[in-house]
């Protein structure tokens, strides 16, 4: 568990990173599809705060927040966006394929729902090796439309696996609203609960509530109580992919966006701490300045690193074998 001040710090970092990426994206130096999580920071920060370093996380296309909240290296992530050899995936993956094994962030991929079975498999691996670890997967509301999601949840239930399914419901799959994708009159949490998995619905923009719910789910998983499904209500402020606002596209109203901006997760946490007197305005300014300076420094390091080169055909296959009888070959 993290203290509330640490949670706010993490929120400010993720927000600052995403804003700086947005600011620089139009320079066209980061030449890969980039899905920013501005507005959704509390789901990442709250859930990851409930994890131990040895617990593992998988994610989807909008994964910057999850990667950073789990402790992923910022410069390596930015270098990956810049297509540098020092990127976290050596320039092979881009923004949609982040990884940092040193902190248990095992991977993110943009095929919707595709990492859900992998998280279940990691949990199976922990069970088979009798390791007291928990596996977490982040996915969006669209993933509940994929068959693989329910196949995976079924298997996790069958084997009582230590896995937490984190559904960030931001109401849209690209620009298509939930109403065009899922039957009316039921919530995602109801569908999950109907499936038999322990389920909780939480305000995904309240980082404190998210951490509490995640902690309960993680503890339960670690104690052998099986999987939990968390539906976290949240909202993305910017366009599906890219650095811009998108009210002009017409798929959502200015009023809707404004209403959700009023529920900004970073402002919410800031307000709570200011009101409680755990932080004052000048401390906050100083914190923001320091974070911005660090983020800009990381951006410069990443931007100035050499391009990925000479590695096109490397790592298609691992060059190693692991002999079953221990012979060194």
């Amino acid at each position: 568990m993290k203290r509330d001040r640490e949670l706010l710090y993490d929120l400010l970092v993720v927000r600052s990173v995403e804003q700086e990426i947005a600011r620089r994206y139009s320079e066209q130096q980061m030449r890969c599809p980039t899905h920013l999580c501005i507005g959704q920071e509390a789901t990442a920060v709250g859930v990851c705060a409930a994890l131990r370093p040895e617990d593992v996380v998988f994610s989807g296309h909008r994964s910057h927040g999850h990667y950073l909240a789990k402790g992923g290296d910022l410069t390596a992530m930015l270098a990956e966006l810049y297509g540098r050899g020092s990127g976290c995936s050596a320039g092979k993956g881009g923004s949609m394929h982040l990884v940092d094994l040193s902190v248990g962030f095992l991977g993110a991929v943009p095929i919707v729902g595709s990492t859900i079975p992998m998280a279940v498999g990691a949990a199976l691996g922990f069970l088979l090796q009798k390791l007291p670890r928990v596996s977490v997967v982040f996915f969006g509301d669209a993933a509940v439309e994929e068959g693989v999601t329910w196949e995976s949840i079924d298997f996790a239930l069958l084997e009582r696996l230590p896995v937490v399914f984190v559904c960030e419901n931001n109401l849209y799959s690209v620009q298509t609203p939930l109403s065009a994708r899922q039957p009316a009159g039921r919530t995602i949490a109801q569908v999950a609960a109907g499936h038999g998995v322990e389920t909780e619905s939480v305000d995904g923009n309240d980082v404190f509530a998210v951490q509490r719910a995640a902690r309960a789910a993680v503890d339960r998983a670690r104690a052998g109580g099986g999987p939990t499904f968390l539906e976290l209500a949240t909202y993305r402020h910017l366009e599906h992919v890219g650095p811009n606002e998108d009210v002009s596209l017409g798929y959502r109203s200015a009023e809707e966006v404004e209403a959700w901006r009023a529920r900004c997760p970073v402002e919410h946490a800031t307000r709570v701490l200011l009101e409680r007197g755990e932080l004052d305005a000048s401390e906050l300014d100083e914190l923001r300045r320091r974070i911005l300076r660090d983020v800009r420094h990381a951006l410069e390091l990443a931007r100035d690193a050499p391009e990925a080169q000479g590695s096109l055909l490397s790592d298609v296959f691992a060059s190693t074998v692991s002999p079953i009888d221990g012979d060194q070959r």
Partner: protein, 350 residues
């Protein structure tokens, strides 16, 4: 004399050894612990090694492939099985997008030691969705190794090599091979991946064959020998990555090439091998190569149609005649046994 085992028993012994020696190995698939034991290849292993390591699974091919992958990422070495390749098509997303690319797309940090065994085959009216032979699909995807053992020796040797490989390996096993017997040494040994085998050496024409077609090719070679034609039969063993050296060396020697594959001719393994050999040693070839494979239609169920659909040794003889510039051979003699069950003459030893 070396001990003889069936292909199924050789696979079972290979799995048994892997489970015995490496605690990270587990076997998972629909029906793995049941009384039929995946054509005998997993019989009794759950009793010996426990149902945690020799596991049944839900009929959820796509998720379970992701589960196997996820477990491999945290240190396990799964062997996943499918009773037909056709069912595994539900898992193509995981196999093609995730399993194949995981090592490359994250910069080579995470090996994916995962073996996926899938059954291919023909006969007994299996029809359009129980008999496909899709090795070319998998071979087309960078990051997957594709093996097709034809003999009991290689069934065990390639299985152990695949389990030990730190990469995903797709193993395609022909249903008609499970009952074939041949010499199989006891204990741990490996058949190297990406190494073809000269099943019979010869000088006049090279026949490269996959899986069950190796048996048909050997029979064709016997028949051609009666006419004084010396046929070199290469058992490809690994489809991807291709053992180009063995292929080209033989083509240079004989100057003539026939490829016999269990899959579709168009855009298939034969197409790739013919392209490779003509690109690399065109001037050594004395005739246009020929392909033997399946025609451009789904597999039919009726025995009469299937008999026309599946090429047998005679089709290989015909193709060899063509590349050798010999007159067409006499039509195929009527078979003394039904064509929709394994050839009783193909019981081994091979």
């Amino acid at each position: 004399m070396t001990r003889q085992l069936t292909y199924a028993a050789a696979l079972r012994e290979g799995l048994d050894l892997c489970l015995q020696h490496d605690s990270r190995v587990y076997v998972m698939g629909l029906g793995v612990p049941d009384a039929k034991g995946l054509f005998g290849s997993t019989l009794d292993l759950a009793r010996v090694h426990g149902s945690t390591r020799v596991r049944d699974m839900p009929t959820a091919e796509n998720a379970m492939t992701g589960v196997a992958l996820g477990s491999a990422l945290v240190g396990m070495r799964p062997v996943l099985t499918h009773q037909r390749v056709d069912f595994a098509l539900l898992a193509v997303e995981q196999m093609v997008n995730q399993v194949a690319k995981w090592h490359y797309m994250f910069g080579g940090q995470q090996p994916v030691p995962l073996v996926i065994r899938m059954v291919i085959g023909r006969g007994w009216g299996q029809g359009p969705q129980h008999a496909q032979s899709l090795q070319a699909w998998f071979a087309h995807v960078p990051g997957l190794k594709v093996v097709m053992p034809a003999t009991p020796y290689d069934a065990k040797g390639l299985l152990i090599a695949s389990v030990e490989d730190d990469n995903p390996v797709i193993s395609l096993e022909h249903r008609w091979l499970y009952g074939v017997s041949g010499p199989v040494p006891e204990g741990v040994y490996r058949t190297p991946i990406q190494q073809a085998r000269i099943a019979r050496s010869g000088n006049d024409v090279t026949v490269v064959a996959t899986s069950y077609m190796v048996l048909e090719a050997l029979r064709a070679a016997d028949e051609l020998a009666l006419r004084g034609v010396s046929c070199e039969v290469i058992d490809l063993r690994t489809v991807a990555p291709l053992d180009e050296a063995t292929l080209l060396e033989s083509c240079r020697k004989t100057g003539r090439l026939v490829v016999a594959d269990t899959g579709a001719t168009s855009f298939g393994v034969g197409a790739e091998i013919v392209a490779r050999s003509t690109e690399r040693c065109f001037s050594d070839l004395r005739a246009a190569p020929a392909r033997v494979g399946l025609p451009d239609c789904p597999a039919p169920s009726a025995p009469s149609l299937a008999a026309e659909y599946y090429p047998r040794s005679h089709a290989i003889v015909q193709a060899c005649h063509r590349v050798l510039g010999l007159p067409a051979p006499a039509p195929e003699a009527a078979s003394s046994h039904p064509l929709d069950v394994p050839d009783p003459d193909f019981t081994g030893p091979f």
